[in-house]
């Protein structure tokens, strides 16, 4: 990581997370999601994004955060990961943050008990701490398959 990178910062149950801005296609407000049968909680269902069927994932479920009833004030971040378009539901988007290389700390030194597999790095800015997500990993097909046990 030798250059400045931009991250979109969003909150999930009061916690701040970041996703690299280049992965993000667009941001839409929460809309009615059609559930897909026989899929585990992480896969929330599908939405219509201008004629394209897009699966939507529930990060609260993934990170074992308390469930909530989603309404139109929630946000769906739509990403394109290895050619596939998919969305994640988040509470709200707060900021776009620029992080210098020295402000990014790799994820090797994390306290035990934290699930590190989806964390790419930690962003440190001023006094805040942001978890930078490894979305490629999080949304990989293999990950989805493990999840479904297929």
């Amino acid at each position: 990581m030798s250059e400045i990178k931009q991250y979109v910062i969003f909150s999930l149950d009061e916690e701040m997370y970041g996703i690299e801005i280049l992965k993000i296609k667009e941001v839409v407000s929460y809309q009615k999601i059609t559930p897909i049968p026989n899929t585990k909680g992480f896969v929330r269902g599908i939405i219509n994004l201008r004629g394209v069927i897009v699966p939507v994932f529930d990060l609260r479920e993934k990170f074992n955060l308390p469930q909530t009833t989603y309404n139109r004030f929630y946000i769906i971040i739509v990403m394109e990961i290895s050619g596939r378009v998919m969305g994640v539901i988040v509470d709200e988007i707060s900021d776009v943050m620029e992080l210098f290389p020295e402000e990014v700390q790799d994820a090797s030194n994390l306290p035990p008990g934290i699930r590190a597999e989806y964390i790419k790095a930690i962003g440190k800015k001023e006094d805040g701490l942001t978890i930078l997500l490894d979305v490629d990993r999080l949304m990989s097909l293999e990950e989805l398959e493990i999840l479904d046990g297929t």
Partner: protein, 718 residues
């Protein structure tokens, strides 16, 4: 994609296109051998393939194309006549180039050197060996009268017309011919029998026959003349040096001459036969006019249109990535949904500027309707190209089997969704092969049955009532129902004393493992095929119908949806979620009456439908959405027949049937068992389409496996 890859990609798609064009012109050339525009196009296509292959470094392709180009140059300059055999060779060459390109695209070597050599030799045979060395000096090599060395051969044309009373002078033409044959190699000997009188006038002491000979020799004119030393004075003997014409060992003059004249000269037919045949021969158009099928003005118009379209057809296509078009179609649909939403809102609006807004809205709706129509058409392609390929297949096959066929294609401009075309190409190909292989008889067989020696294969396409029909018909022997029945008995599909209707018998043709023909040909007749045809059609929601009459032929009619993913469905509500059930599987719907349910064991339920009891399948249990069950209330039953099983599903509400476009979940997610795909409803919401075969499997085969345990989620926590 690297730049290199991209260049290759362009090469492959371009070559593919060019070879198609070349093939197209070859087929056109076959019916009109002298069409310069087709020769030009053929030449250009091969030339471009050659250069672009050289550019990306495929030397074998470029070498071979170069050789082909040399041959084509000869056709172009009129030195070589277009014959059926030549066309077959050229079609084969196009295939060979295509196969080389295919091999390269799969990372293999372009061609087996041995095969390549063989293929090159085939072409060279047409060129004549000496032509190769002079190939580079084309197109207009100077024809020189340079003195020939002893080793160089000349060609002479010798016409012998002897006096009728030659025998009385003690001369024997046979001896003269034998003497001549010692001087060189006869390229052609033709006996002219046109002077032969009727039998009663025939005198065995007279000579009626004259000869036309072409000889290849290294002897001089004088030496040839010496053979006829004793007869040349009072007989008509002419010896002509025609070496110029015979540059490549092929009579190049034939190219510019009529077939009849050539045959006449070779003594294959007499002048009377030729005149007679010519009188019978008419243009197709003239025949139609004569038969009163069309007016001559109509004919002229059609010819003019045809010419116009030939010119335009080649100019106005561009290649676009299907993805781009698909996203346009998606956006178009979305825009439509948006506009109709605004329209609904506007109808309720009573505020300022309402009239003006409404007026604009009406305009927008109109534009939108047209836009939608056009956008859908973008994906549609005329069947012309597909039919032309079949024409080629049928032609090649008939040629191999020494059968004669005439192909009639109608409705070439009928348009079909590209994906539908892709899905029906293989089934149609199979049907075409069947027609030639099994349908059309040999010319002898046909004549014995009182039919014209050439069979007719007809391709027909038309649109009727939201469906596209594609028909393939032949006038051959028809499907032999008796042998179908025999096969049925052998396979145990029919009981010995069972009497089946024609339709029921024909249905066996689609069973896997069916074939009535004992002879196995390269392409069809191995008992695979018709079942594949059916499967492929099922996939796109198409139907096939057969009609056959003994010795009158058979026709296969495919009934296809306008668009690949267009499906007719019934919308139902189950526990607050709407699902779409494919209409073709629904046999009926009924109001749910709890009193009629018969229970088996703890879970299984049966319900009477028409004369049977059918199992009830609670889909919501199979399709676990993980959502708390909404207060659903079963009010109706939808009965389905998947072909293998019939069952009923309880639903809360039956809504309207609709036509939808199925979108796959796999594009951005993955396939889900029991779900065929999703669609976007008129209000912009997403609804899932049920996959009945999948559901059936899940219900009937997995029902004993019990509930799967939730696991995997907690694995990271110690």
């Amino acid at each position: 994609m690297s730049e290199q890859d991209e260049t290759l990609q362009i090469f492959f798609s371009e070559t593919d296109e060019l070879l198609k064009l070349a093939e197209e012109s070859l087929l056109a050339l076959e019916s009109t051998p002298k069409s310069t525009s087709d020769i030009e196009q053929l030449f250009r296509s091969v030339h471009t393939v050659k250069s672009s292959a050289a550019m990306v470094g495929f030397i074998c392709i470029s070498d071979y194309a170069h050789l082909l180009e040399t041959l084509l140059e000869r056709i172009r300059s009129g030195k070589l006549a277009v014959t059926k055999n030549l066309i077959t060779l050229l079609l084969g060459s196009i295939d060979f180039i295509r196969s080389m390109a295919d091999r390269v695209s799969q990372g293999e070597a372009e061609a087996d050197p041995e095969v390549l050599g063989e293929k090159k030799d085939q072409v060279k045979r047409y060129l004549g060996v000496e032509a190769i060395s002079t190939a580079e000096e084309e197109p207009h090599p100077p024809v020189t009268e340079a003195p020939r060395g002893a080793a160089q051969f000349s060609f002479y044309k010798i016409d012998l017309k002897f006096r009728r009373d030659l025998f009385y002078s003690g001369q024997d033409p046979l001896l003269l011919l034998l003497g001549l044959s010692e001087l060189g190699e006869f390229v052609q000997v033709a006996a002219d029998l046109s002077e032969l009188p009727d039998f009663e006038d025939f005198s065995m002491y007279d000579l009626y026959v004259s000869w036309h000979i072409i000889i290849k020799t290294n002897r001089s004119y004088e030496e040839l003349e010496d053979v006829f030393m004793f007869v040349k004075d009072d007989n008509e003997i002419s010896i002509e040096d025609i070496t110029k014409r015979y540059r490549e060992g092929v009579d190049t003059e034939l190219a510019g001459r009529k077939l009849g004249e050539v045959l006449l000269e070779k003594g294959r037919i007499t002048q009377e036969v030729l005149t007679d045949a010519l009188e019978k021969q008419k243009m197709l158009g003239a025949i139609l006019v004569e038969d009163g099928k069309i007016q001559s003005e109509e004919l002229d118009q059609a010819v003019a249109l045809q010419e116009e379209s030939r010119a335009v057809y080649r100019k106005t296509t561009i290649r676009v990535d299907v993805e781009k078009i698909n996203s346009l179609v998606n956006l178009g649909e979305e825009m439509g949904i948006g506009i109709s939403k605004v329209h609904t809102l506007l109808e309720k609006y009573t505020g300022h500027g309402q009239t003006e807004l409404m007026e604009e809205m009406q305009n927008l709706l109109k534009v939108n309707r047209e836009f939608q129509e056009r956008v859908t058409r973008v994906r549609m392609f005329p069947l012309e190209g597909t039919f032309r390929r079949f024409q080629r297949i049928a032609r090649d096959l008939a040629f191999q089997q020494n059968k004669q066929i005439n192909i009639i294609s109608t409705g070439l401009d009928t348009e079909l969704d590209k994906e539908v075309i892709e899905h029906i190409t293989d089934p149609l190909k199979h049907l075409v092969r069947n027609c030639v292989d099994h349908g059309i008889e040999t010319p002898e067989e046909r004549q014995a049955k009182g039919k014209p020696p050439a069979g007719i294969i007809e391709f027909k396409a038309y649109q009727r009532g939201g469906k596209i029909f594609v028909e393939i018909r032949d006038d051959g022997r028809g499907i032999d129902l008796a042998s179908v029945q025999r096969r049925g008995l052998e396979e145990g599909w029919i009981k010995p004393d069972q009497v089946l209707s024609k339709e029921a018998l024909l249905a066996f043709i689609f069973k896997s493992g069916f074939s009535t023909r004992s002879r196995v040909t390269e392409l069809s007749g191995r008992g695979v095929g018709m079942d594949v045809v059916k499967t492929q059609l099922d996939q796109i929601g198409g139907i096939i119908k057969i009609h056959t009459e003994k010795d009158r032929g058979a026709s296969f009619t495919l009934c296809l949806p306008l668009r690949y993913s267009l499906m007719e469905v019934l919308r139902v509500m189950m526990q607050g979620i709407s699902y779409l059930v494919p209409l073709q599987a629904i046999v009926g719907t009924e109001k749910f009456d709890k009193g009629l349910v018969k229970s088996f064991g703890a879970q299984e339920k049966m319900y009477p439908f028409r004369d049977d009891y059918l199992p009830l399948v609670d889909i919501t249990k199979i399709l676990d959405t993980g959502m708390p069950a909404a207060n659903g209330h079963v009010a109706a039953l939808v009965f389905l027949d998947t072909g293998a099983r019939a069952f009923g599903i309880p639903v809360d509400e039956v809504l309207e049937p609709q036509q939808i476009i199925v979108k796959t979940l796999e594009t951005n997610y993955r396939s889900v068992k029991g779900i065929a795909g999703a669609t976007i409803l008129g209000d912009g919401s997403v609804s899932l389409v049920l996959d009945l075969l999948g559901l059936e499997e899940m219900f009937f085969e997995n029902s004993f496996k019990g509930v799967q345990l939730d696991e995997g989620e907690e694995k990271a926590n110690p």
